[in-house]
Structures are given as structure tokens and as C-alpha cells.
């Protein structure tokens, strides 16, 4: 098979992409809590009024995701990393991000904010 004889590919870029996705997802969850729990943050994230602060929450997620992807890819593009460990962390962060989109979950954290 040609795939066997090819030079061993580095797994760093894959790990970078996955971990950046996890970081973006969990950051999104944090922005949901902050925007819903702190009025000033909610107003600041209201980038497009007809859509409300959903525009800013998702916009910030995309910025954090892409910036962390570029940074991590620059760090790991020519390296082999502990892929099993990093991909597991990335998946956990992604699932944590999913969990923080559930209203009773982000409401729980909002109630922990003094201003909320």
C-alpha cells in the first residue's frame, strides 16, 4: 500500500485543530454565562441588534477558536504530540461546551454570579 510506504505524517496539526475546537466550544459556554448573567457583557456582545447578543457570543467563539487554532498549529505543525491525550481533552472540552448551552446548566452558573 502506498500509504504504508509514505513518510510518517505528523499528528500535531490534527491535535491543534481538535484542541482549538474544544477551546472554542468551552469559551462559547463561558460567554453564554457571562452574556446572560451580566447585563454589561450582554450589551457589549450585542453586535447586531436584530439578533441580540447571540451575534457577539458566537462571534467571540469563532475568534477564540480560530486564533487558538492558528497559535496551536504554529506550535505543533512539524511535531508529533501525545495525540490520545490531547484529542481526549479536546473532546471533553467540546462536550463541556455542549453542556454549557443547556439552559438549566448555564442558569445554574448565572446564579453564582453576584451581579446575576
Amino acid at each position: 500500500m502506498t500509504t504504508n510506504s509514505e513518510t510518517q505524517i505528523k499528528n500535531g496539526p490534527a491535535a491543534a485543530a481538535l484542541l482549538a475546537g474544544g477551546i472554542g466550544a468551552v469559551t462559547y459556554g463561558i460567554f453564554i454565562i457571562l452574556a446572560e448573567g451580566i447585563k454589561v457583557v450582554g450589551n457589549v456582545l450585542n453586535w447586531y441588534n436584530p439578533s441580540g447578543n447571540l451575534s457577539g457570543k458566537t462571534g467571540m467563539m469563532i475568534i477564540v477558536w480560530l486564533v487558538s487554532w492558528v497559535y496551536l498549529n504554529n506550535q505543533w505543525k512539524d511535531k508529533d504530540v501525545d495525540f490520545q491525550k490531547i484529542s481526549t481533552i479536546a473532546l471533553i472540552l467540546l462536550l463541556l461546551g455542549v453542556l454549557l448551552t443547556v439552559p438549566p446548566v448555564f442558569d445554574f452558573f448565572i446564579h453564582l454570579i453576584p451581579a446575576g
Binding site: A17, A25, S51, V98
Partner: protein, 177 residues
């Protein structure tokens, strides 16, 4: 039989982009799952990978189109505030739902979850598409990367399915006219 301008965008968002995404998912995931050196010939892997790349980027593009049309076209109509003194709230879905405690949960839980969870689908789908494009046939010999891509795709599907299901229920309770 009449479909209004706003309803046509609801159909585009939910029934065209959303349904296309969900329908196309399982075939692509199986193609990725079966991308193994021990199961396929070299020609088989090359042929499958070229189709997988098209599939993955199509899925990611559809996911982006779904959330962008939802957030910036349909959602503003959903959350529009009725003018002072409006008694007929049927064209203001958010206000219509919140005015009735029996169905307010479709906004407080349903729409609140839908609007947030949906945005994770295009992010995870883009990462999966990038990895399929970058590693291509090498995925057949890289089970750890292949499995990680599969898990991200499964999360993509799960988030999109939740958003689609809630969207269908919310539209039934308070459609955007």
C-alpha cells in the same frame, strides 16, 4: 396554498439546509469508519477519500449556511418586539410564547438551547472537514486521528439534531409568518 416570504426562509433554514445536513450525515460517517487499510484496496481508499472530502466540506458548508440563515434572517423575525398595544401576537413568535405560561417553555428552554447549541455544529464540522482534507488517505492508517474525527462528527450530528428537533417543535407552537 401560500408560503410567505418569511416562511420560505424558515423552510430554507430548517427543511433544506437542516434536513440535508442530517440526511447526509450517516453515509459519510460510515465511509469514514470503513476507511481502513485492512478493508480496502489502495484504489478503493483513494476513491473513497476523494468522495469523503467533497462530503465533509459540503456538510461543513451546509452547517454554516444553516446557522447563518437561522441567526441573521429567521431569528430576528422570531424575536422581534411587538409595537406597544399590540394584542395579536401571532406574528411575534417569542412574545406569543412568553405571553402564555403553558407554552413559554418553548422559548425559555427550547429556543434558548436551540439558538446556542446549533453554533457548535459548523465549528466541529469544519474541523472534521479540515482533518479529512489534510490527512486524506493517510487516515486509513491513522486510527487515532480517524476516531477523533468520527467523534467530532458525532457531536456535530448530535448538536444539529437537537437544534433541528427543537426548531420543529417551536415552529409548530409559534411559526414565523
Amino acid at each position: 396554498m401560500l408560503v410567505t416570504f418569511r416562511e420560505s426562509f424558515g423552510v430554507l433554514h430548517g427543511l433544506v439546509f437542516g434536513a440535508l445536513f442530517l440526511l447526509a450525515f450517516s453515509g459519510g460517517l460510515y465511509a469514514l469508519y470503513s476507511l481502513r487499510l485492512e478493508w480496502l484496496t489502495t484504489e478503493g481508499i483513494q476513491e473513497k477519500v476523494s468522495k469523503l472530502k467533497i462530503w465533509a466540506w459540503s456538510m461543513a458548508t451546509i452547517a454554516w449556511l444553516t446557522v447563518l440563515t437561522g441567526t441573521y434572517i429567521v431569528y430576528p423575525w422570531y424575536r422581534a418586539k411587538p409595537p406597544q398595544g399590540t394584542t395579536d401576537l401571532s406574528t411575534f413568535p417569542r412574545s406569543f410564547l412568553l405571553a402564555n405560561p403553558n407554552i413559554a417553555g418553548w422559548h425559555n428552554f427550547g429556543m434558548e438551547w436551540k439558538e446556542h447549541i446549533a453554533w457548535l455544529a459548523p465549528v466541529a464540522a469544519t474541523i472534521a472537514a479540515y482533518l479529512i482534507a489534510k490527512y486524506g488517505a493517510k487516515l486509513a492508517n491513522e486510527p487515532k486521528i480517524r476516531n477523533a474525527v468520527a467523534w467530532f462528527l458525532i457531536v456535530t450530528f448530535g448538536t444539529a439534531a437537537v437544534a433541528a428537533m427543537l426548531g420543529a417543535f417551536i415552529t409548530k407552537a409559534a411559526p414565523v409568518h
